[in-house]
Symmetry: D2
Subunit: 136 residues, 4 copies
């Protein structure tokens, strides 16, 4: 973290009052922390529009672990040469279903390609992909 700077923001009292309620309700320690989060979120969303931006993704897969060969296919896909599969987490949900969270690191476009493959595997029931840009 670099040097800390301080900027001034003007906003009308009505908006400030509602913002303060949100800050308190979510448990933020102060307004600056909340505003920094809003700014980082916006910047991260912006970065994701660039195919070559560096990002980290969590691919969230709910699947039926009885289906033979699915785990193997998942592992094969994760060993994609353009991506760095950082790690994965396996959670037992019930007698039938598992949750697998696969953490991928790489360029936005490469992550998109691998996560498409993962979510379309036979036996995968639900999926969501979370991408966060790792900006400058």
């Amino acid at each position: 973290m670099g040097q800390v700077e301080r900027i001034g923001v003007s906003l009308d009292e009505g908006l400030l009052g509602r913002f303060d309620e949100l800050v308190a309700g979510q448990g933020y320690p102060n307004r600056s922390e909340a505003i920094r989060d809003l700014i980082r979120d916006r910047l991260s969303a912006e970065e994701l529009g660039k195919p070559n931006a560096r990002a980290i993704a969590g691919v969230f897969l709910v699947y039926d672990h009885h289906l033979g060969g699915l785990s193997q296919k998942m592992i094969d896909l994760q060993h994609n040469h353009l991506l760095q599969t950082v790690s994965s987490l396996h959670v037992h949900l019930d007698r039938e279903d598992c949750l697998e969270v696969v953490i991928l690191k790489g360029k936005v476009k490469d992550i998109a390609q691998v996560s498409d493959r993962l979510t379309s595997l036979k036996g995968v029931k639900l999926s969501r992909v979370n991408i966060l840009a790792l900006g400058g």
Copy 2:
């Protein structure tokens, strides 16, 4: 608009630098305007979680205008007694398709019900619903 207040926000220079680029890139006149937008967006998203919050919605419908009776069904649905259909806009897209933007005003839950009906009408090809909470 009430009285204008001024608050201070501290953030490290790296984050500030990237934020300033965004502010300039999007054409914001200054940082305050951009931060106010981030705050209002966040508050509006928060409000939408409350079924009784007052909101305004734009229901975007792309449909085939050759299908008999669709326009009539749309108008019937808009005349829901719990909602105020403010107005609607009709755009000719090509030989086959039209875009209809229906503006609805009312409680979040009532808007959700009517927009579900609108988007599931036979002949509607694509739809999106945009809801903005009209907070405090």
Copy 3:
């Protein structure tokens, strides 16, 4: 619309039962209509990843109409040579605020640029952009 084809889809009875409830709850006339909507939505989302895809957008702006010159700036922005501003709709919300829905037609990337400018205008309090790809 071209020739109609019929495909078979196999799914287990639990999933089918829950889907049928959704179809009925949303008021769809039949399953085919609901599945076509799911497919079109997915295809439209896919198209939006391509900067040159043809799209139609609704830019939704809530703004304070007392602010001098805002309307003029909006009109100037809409007269962008790369886009076709199809039309716009103005709704009076309360003593202070207006809603303006601007319909833009053009390439995804050009729409993104103009809608960024519109949403960052001073006086615009809330905004949302809805883009629908007009695929093949």
Copy 4:
């Protein structure tokens, strides 16, 4: 998984052609698998509107691990008596930042409360919450 049923879906050839391209492009083994995914996604999104629906969530947090006490606060929050914190995964990103993925199981409303607290902790730079409803 229950008994498998087969339903027919009619759609015009243009839409079918574009859908088939998507199915192939994403690597789906067949159309049924792709349509089942679309249906499950839609049902899961629907469930999330109900505060008492059972869900599983992945809370993604990028944070600066130098900040004292943050890990302890995270662990305290995860030990919420209304939720079942299934597990969590810690990934080292660079000299400064870590990614923590916390898997929470419980009711939608309880997950929302805990994830709000987690994402607003001082030191958390970026966050995303992924919720999947575990329907019927």
